[in-house]
Symmetry: none
Subunit: 212 residues, 4 copies
């Protein structure tokens, strides 16, 4: 096919990414075969290589896309919600890419636009041997911590959070709690239990952190 239409390439890349994320999150990096993805897309392996130089590069793009999406959602949420709302279902769903909270339990995770791909888990191995990927992920991670720390700092200045609170540590704590709960999903803990734990723990934390 010829010059199809402007932006076709971008769209094609996107289609591949969206398909790949399912496999990577469901089967992991190594168990996912390029052939699987290709077949599932109804194209040849070669077609994928037209858009991504290697399996690793494809995976990297998947991760980037996932990060971008998640971070964007996080930012929009924080933009209009005070810390008190961290304990809501809405925030929990954003964190775990669960979408509309009411129906989530009935969905197969991998069928969703972005399954809660625990990218920390998935990239752990690649990171160990790919310095540039490690650097990129590390930067993203640090950015996320900073983003939330600034959010807390902001509310400290507004007098919502107690002035003696170490917002940097708080940010690391919240982020780690989130990552750890993501791992709990892998460990087959019920999502309802996880959701409950999240709400309980953040409620406890907020009660100590918020003014009054």
């Amino acid at each position: 096919m010829p010059k199809v239409f402007p932006g076709y390439r971008e769209e094609a890349k996107n289609r591949i990414i969206k398909e790949s994320v399912k496999f990577f999150s469901k089967k992991g990096y190594h168990k996912t075969k390029m052939a699987d993805i290709a077949t599932s897309l109804g194209v040849s392996k070669g077609a994928i290589y037209q858009y991504f130089g290697s399996k690793e590069e494809l995976f990297l793009e998947v991760i980037r896309d996932y990060i971008k999406y998640t971070q964007k959602e996080l930012i929009s949420f924080l933009d209009v919600h005070p810390p008190q709302d961290l304990v809501t279902d809405e925030f929990f769903d954003i964190m775990f890419n669960l979408g509309q909270s009411q129906s989530i339990e009935s969905l197969t995770i991998v069928d969703r636009l972005f399954p809660p791909l625990d990218f920390n888990l998935a990239i752990s191995e690649l990171i160990k041997s790919n310095p540039s990927m490690k650097k990129e992920m590390t930067k993203y991670y640090a950015d996320s911590i900073k983003l939330m720390a600034e959010y807390f700092e902001d509310y400290k200045n507004k007098g919502v959070i107690k002035h003696e609170v170490d917002t940097w540590s708080l940010s690391i704590g919240i982020t780690s709690l989130q990552d750890g709960l993501m791992a709990a999903i892998q460990m087959s803990l019920e999502i309802s239990e996880i959701r409950k734990a999240w709400k309980e723990v953040t409620k406890i934390m907020l009660s100590s952190v918020l003014v009054d």
Copy 2:
């Protein structure tokens, strides 16, 4: 190496496990080659197969050993320490297998008996395709949650923890926080920052959870 005497087999297995854990935690499961382990031990690949039926089985044993060791340390700690002590350096070091807290920053992680092998990360992929392994890990995970929940429950009965606290969720929260901070190590966050975050967050939580 002596050849035959009672317990030789056990000892040999142990040597292999101790060597393997270094590779698995440093390079991950797939990047670790049986040949590497064998060479590093100064034996042949065949020798390892005399003790472990497969790479996967070896890995499983490594994980089991790791879990056993970590859980034992956790139990001993909880056995004699009240919840207030969760905020101490000693507990942090046990959790992350960091050993003597005073000198830890100067040690290369992988040189330690048990590097903070984030088994959650390491097994994530294998778990996805190995049902029996998944079951075993899931059980261990649930046991850990339960262990700590009972500990909290116990202190609730002693009147140390407020009676309205959901100890099950608290346990999930503490465990997830720990797992998430483990991931933060992979993300190159400074151990000193992680330690500080841990202490800060647990302090906050405890202040809400403990009576008075």
Copy 3:
């Protein structure tokens, strides 16, 4: 590029050939990709296939063109020069497609119209599996030998070359010397050394071959 006018096709083919020879001589047959040539020409791969049925055919045309060009130059030279002139710079430059002898050392070989493509080297592998190509090349090679042999024979009749000289062997010798020196270029021998060796050796040979 104009699209349609008489001779356009020929011109287009020519442009492709001229671009291809650079790649084939610089990178060899296998390392040269159709995509490289297309990109370098600023056209699509498909465009090349409009003029050449396959990569091999293109290569064949490149070789033919190269041969034709070189042989033509050789013939014009021999047409007006006696054997004594074989030792001149001019002849050396023709042989190695070096063009203007005075400035050659400062030119990048591949930037020239015809880089000294050692076609013996370049086609060696293809020849082994392509009978028709082998036949064609073999014919060309034999023709070249014959051409020069007749030239020597002619001068033998003119009394310039001693009558006992085996002109056929002499022709093979001169041709082989040329091919071998071409290989020496590949082996990074300095062109100045090669030029000197050529002049020295032909001088020696001529002194024995020429009458007086």
Copy 4:
């Protein structure tokens, strides 16, 4: 199989090299498949990779072996023969690895221990993209030139070769003549013709170069 016997590894490598040279010289580098070699040896592909890290490395070893063998033969010859003997059948056979001169015409080239693998042809392409290989080959080439130049220089001092002869150029000339004739074999020229040309041309050259 276990520690078979001392030196087994060396012997195995050698077997592989001897088998590979047949394929590389008969079919060229790219047309030769690892599977072909393995099958021909009656082993698995994996077995070859136990001894050679890659196809390219195997090829490199083949070339090295060839060079070592050829250069050794050349040295022994030059060691005991004066320049006059360059015109003999014996030298021709050594140069082209033709072995016993009497029976050579009846042998299939590739069945011989060392077919006249024209390594200049075979490595030409690889050399273009493998700098370390290029360096090694270039060094070998330069060494060969030097070796012969010193030989001529030696005989110049002995008063056998005229003192005005440029022995360096002479060495380049002889070597190139040899390489060019090797190419002539590829071009299907009769070995008898090539042999005749060699003898004729060297005779001519020597008559000018030798004292008297």
